[in-house]
Symmetry: C7
Subunit: 288 residues, 7 copies
């Protein structure tokens, strides 16, 4: 064996040792990362509820916990294999690139999912509504039953349950964050004395203000809302405690109806002036 | 032969050996990966149903199973060819890049497919509805007949079958997750004594509450809903077991109609006040 | 000639040989790939129909077959040229990058095409509808005449032919996958005895159930659907074989009309109560 | 001059020669590619019409031909300059990257153009409609006057010309691919004997079937379509040759009108039952 | 100074010379490119109008000319700086990457601009409409006043000026590319003899055909369009020269009105059949 | 030990030292960056309010402060680990690429978030509205209660609270930035003398201009708005201080109503001319 | 110290010097770039108004000026740090990549901002409208109050201020770039002599043409617009100076009303022909 072979041999040896060292380093690193990752998963989504940072039912938590761990494990196996292959100077770019394209496609498809979770986070963090609030959002309205990671459950007054992905929430309208307004429209006939009508309704309002407890402001008469086809439209206004607006509306309407009837004021039917043909032109031109 | 040629020769030899070794490594790795991939496919989508993780009909499972295996096989062949070519120091970047662009185009086009599967996963995992539930989602409503990987089948009351890609589901409204509300509107003429009418309807409700079994709460009279053109609108309310709401609505309407007719209360036709031309102005200005 | 020149010469020689070897390898590889690609094309889209995996008319198959082969050939020529250029150490990155950008633009533009084909695949694979089915999808409805690779042809009842790209299909509504519902509304005047009316209609239904063969369930009287302005609305219901729903609806309506007329029951015209001006207030306040 | 300088010199020389060789290779390659590209352009879009693969007016063909050649020439000049610069080891990545970003922006903006051409290709290849067909697509309808590379020209019945980019075509409705349906609705008064009316119309249909030549099936009486407010609606049906549907509709309507009038059957005006106030309640409750 | 230092020195010297040479090459190249770019800018958008390829007002041309030159100059400065830095082996990737991200953001934002220009090019190249044409596009309609690089100006009949970015044009409807249709609907009372009415209108049409010069075809009577509530609707049809359709419509309507009135034919007011309550049932059931 | 081993040893030693030095440099750099990052976070979002640049409630600030620090810390740990691994010549590209794909997916999903914050910044910076302003934006309207980082809270007149992500704001309509217009429509009967009516209303307006303090311009009579079916519509116009427009509208309407009634002017009911059948034709043709 | 150590030492020294030189070069380059950047910022957005190229209020200019300088400074610090780290052969790719992903996310989110500024530039450059013009764009209409960098302020006639991001402008409709059209519809009863009516209106138009100064063309009588249910609709037309169209419309209407009334021409109320039941059939069939 000549000195040249020695050099080649020494080089190969050095290379071999170096490769071995790297492989060991990679494996140790992978082990530690995996361990660390599992710890993080457990910290956030503990299989035993009450310990984790994110509140979930125990069963669901278990499922997600093990799902996340599986994904993590396979992902680290894949990366480790890549790196070791690479250590042997075998080209891994094609594999990575392919995985990347796949990841991209999934990424595009998973946009909504990411959006759901981000919006969900803000829904909870910003405290836009709480369970039990009556809200109107994403085209449905009802009482919030559950605010979840990805979806929110809203119970409609009709009884049906709306399951809304959080990403569908754009603007949220909350009916439980302050006094609610009540508007009641009453139409009275044109011949009635409007000032008398307003008087009757104002007295009714004073009584109602005392008798209906959930009313917080008013009720009061706002004034003439419209000079309609067959009568004058008067608007009543009040503020009530949240969720009482519908009941109070019905109650106020009943009281207004009673007050008007008792005072002998006419609620108008649709009116029509009938002109016999012969008189139409005279009327139009006001010839008498 | 001079020492220089020797060096060249030794180098070429070393290179040749190294290339051979790498090729063998790559082939073994490819073999193992393929084997491993097929195992995973079989684990999730077994050609024999009942064994796999994902429930599917046996025939469909077989088709998908063999389809996935084909894709996997060709993909690994392609990668192996790339890596071996690369081992010869032949530039594979152009091929990879081209495949990438193609993959990207497909990725864009396949967004919906990915979205369908992801949403489908959550539909099932979150248990938003079960087979047999009456739901309203993606613009159609009906009874769920099948929840699939990519699509969900909904049978309309009209008999037609809606096949909805899961990605089209945004918010889902489930009618089978609690008591359903029933609303019945009854109009009575203005001259009627409203308190008497409310009385009659309340009595009817008490009887109905006992006689209609599927009613869970109520029925009760909510109050005055509207002071309409020709009559006063009264609202009845009840809660029923799921899917009984339509029948109960019809039944309650029949009972209300009977009760009102028996009590001699008038259901108003549209009214119109006819004013002969001569009197219109006097009426308007209340001159008598 | 000095030893130095020799080294340079030897190196150049070695390089030349190496380049030649690589070129030969690349050419052989290109040849094989091309051959293999043409085989695959022929396997899926044979110029002679009946042999290929995808069913198409022979003429169309030929066109696509030769089109695909052309694309494949030019693509491999292009790649081979790139790789050989690269072998000479000439920078091909600019060319590749440019082609990539072009490919990207085409990829964006071709999204719909990819989407059409993917959806088409699922339409066929999942058997959402067959030729001859009456469906409602993508905003049109009619009988399916042809399910194609990229488009589906639907014949409207009106006679016109809708050619719909498969990617436009979102949810599909199939009218041929089960019994169809028939709903007939009948209005009778308020003074009529509703129980008698229901009786008449029920008898009619019993006869119809026997006489109309395509009816599978019912017909039966569902009950009071509405207390309308001028009459009571009653709802009849039945299930028929697919595509018979329109005929049965017309038949049931004729029978209901005849039954009602024979029984001397009034179908109401619109009613209006006319109040001479003088009496309006008295009526409204129920002063008699 | 020492041996060291010699080595440096020899190296520089070798490098110079190598660069020169590469430059020559690049220039030859560029020349060939340019020649080849121009040949392809000429093959597809010949300046003299009748020779090229794509049919266009001669003047337009010339414009596009020279436009494409210009683009090709500048593109190859740019690439060649890049590669030569690169041969001098001057960093061209920045230039390429910048051009790429520009290309990307243009690519995004040009999506619609690509989409137009792709859809146009399929419109022609799949033969969805021919010149002269009456179609309804992209929100307009009319007779196709020209199917182009990028746009299709549709002449509206109103006389105006719709110029529609092919990418705007989604689903296409073709009115020239089969017999067209004709529907005529006739209303007759309730007191009329419906069976007699049906008889009269059926006889009319038999005559029409013989006398109207463009009718291919029917006309026939489909049956009762609606029990409307003031009369019974009867539906007539026929199939005609394409484009005759509007004329036949008008003709059938005229014949039905004549037949009904000759038979002394009443076409109802809107009906209204007028109830004097005093009787309303009695009627409603059927007190007589 | 030892031989070793010499080698280092020689190497540094060689490197220095090489760097200097490269810098000079880059600077010359940059100079040439800049000169060339400015020439191209001047060729297309000359500061003196009438010389450039693209027609623009002189003032605007000057502005764009100097704007483009500025952008070009800064862009080449930036690139040159990058390349020279690179020559010193200083990492420029970070700078390039940052500029790229910025460029990408601008690219996304500038999509619409690119789209406007591309569509504008086709609008002009394909000659979809000329100045003075009455068109309907992008949701507005009016007379084209100016077709620009990025926007088109359309003058509404109402007088307002619509400035539409070319990218907003999708389909274009041109009213100036052929004869326009005129439709006039005339309603006559049911008791009238329809054949006589058609006769009267046909005679009127014959006269109109001769007297109205801008009419190119017709006018003629198309036939019965509808059996409406209170009368029979008859349709008149004609073709006129472009832009005369509105005037001819009004003229034809006037002539039809005069002809009908002269012939003593009744144009029906809305009809209603009034049934006193007592008779309603008898009528409905045809009891006489 | 031979000289060759020495070289290898020396090289390994040099390499080891170099790696060590680099690791130390990286760690120090990481430490400094972390420190610096925490300082920046504290500067902008101080845990103690009143010190930071961005105004937030103290509790929220604390949460975000610690959240940002956590993200920063993990991010720097991750980067440092990557760089150190890289120092050992272990391929980190796969890890980076994977993280990049993940980041991309998150980036896509987080678009809305970024958009919210950017728009929010401009909402505040450009001072489009202040707390207490009544605005109409993003499809809701109400009084602004809180302008936040990511969302804005708007209190509806109905009492409900709209929580609107800033990115949903497109155009903003501010009702508090100038005088508001009031429009009141009054209909009077055709026979009335219009000039007299205008006179009456103008006088009323003069009085109102003095008596209603919040009115800034007018009120005045604009003129005839419509010749409606049953009367002439007259338009009143005024400008008021912001937020007073609704009250002033009602007040003006009341005053107009009183003025008209006092002047004995008729507000028309709907009119209809009734023609007995026999006279219709005579009337239509004006035969007397 | 052996010769080997010397070589190592010399190499290290050479490397150290080279690194030092590069660092100095980078720092100088960074310094110059920063200086240059600040100069550019100052040139365009001077803290003292009247000097900068872009017109802004002084206060705003200051804010943006210092904001831009801060961003520039931190950006250059970041780049310099990267490059120096890189000089030490420490891998900066991970850091760059991370920053890139972040930049991309921001880039996506900032699309609208870029679009706003680009559109804003064209709004101003193309002079689509000036301050004070009445325009209709982006779904709002009003008088332009301010054209800004990112938003445009439009004052509604109702008094509210619309703040519209420039990117929301698509097509712009300008009401201040030419004469505006005025259309007035007048209905007269059928029995009136239409030619006489046209005569009366034409005379009125002649007077109006002289008396209303802001009218530029007309007014004139266009002709019969519709044969409506109860009367003939006649159309008047005029052109006025911009912004006078609403006033002129009201004025013309008043004049037409006066003219018609003075000429004793009837404006029709809605007509209805009432047919007693007994006569309906006779009338329909024209039996007399």
């Amino acid at each position: 064996m000549g000195p040249f072979e020695e050099i080649i041999g020494a080089e190969l040896l050095a290379k071999g040792v170096s490769i071995l060292l790297r492989m060991v380093a990679v494996l140790i690193f992978a082990k530690i990362t995996l361990h660390f990752g599992i710890m993080i998963v457990d910290k956030f989504i503990a299989p035993v509820s009450g310990v984790s940072r994110i509140r979930m039912e125990e069963k669901k938590a278990k499922t997600i916990n093990s799902l996340l761990k599986s994904i993590l494990r396979y992902f680290i196996y894949f990366l480790t294999a890549m790196i070791i292959l690479d250590t042997f100077n075998i080209q891994t770019a094609p594999i990575i690139a392919s995985a990347g394209i796949l990841g991209l496609a999934v990424g595009f498809g998973a946009q909504n999912l990411v959006k759901d979770v981000i919006t969900g986070f803000f829904l909870i963090f910003e405290d836009q509504f709480s369970i039990g609030d009556y809200i109107d959002a994403a085209g449905v309205d009802g009482t919030v039953e559950e605010i979840g990671f990805r979806t929110t459950k809203i119970r409609d007054f009709g009884g049906q349950l709306h399951i809304v992905p959080n990403g569908s929430f754009d603007k949220v309208t909350n009916y439980a964050e302050g006094d609610m307004r009540v508007l009641v429209k009453v139409q009275v006939a044109y011949p009635e004395n409007i000032d008398k009508v307003l008087d009757v309704l104002e007295k009714m309002c004073e009584v109602a203000a005392e008798e209906i407890e959930v009313v917080t402001t008013g009720p009061k008469v706002l004034g003439l809302q419209d000079l309609a086809d067959s009568g004058v439209e008067i608007l009543l206004w009040a503020k009530t405690q949240p969720m009482e607006q519908w009941g109070v509306t019905r109650q106020l309407r009943k009281r207004a109806y009673d007050a008007i009837k008792d005072a002998g004021i006419e609620i108008p039917f649709p009116h029509v002036v009938v002109i016999p043909r012969g008189e139409a032109k005279e009327i139009d031109l006001d010839i008498e």
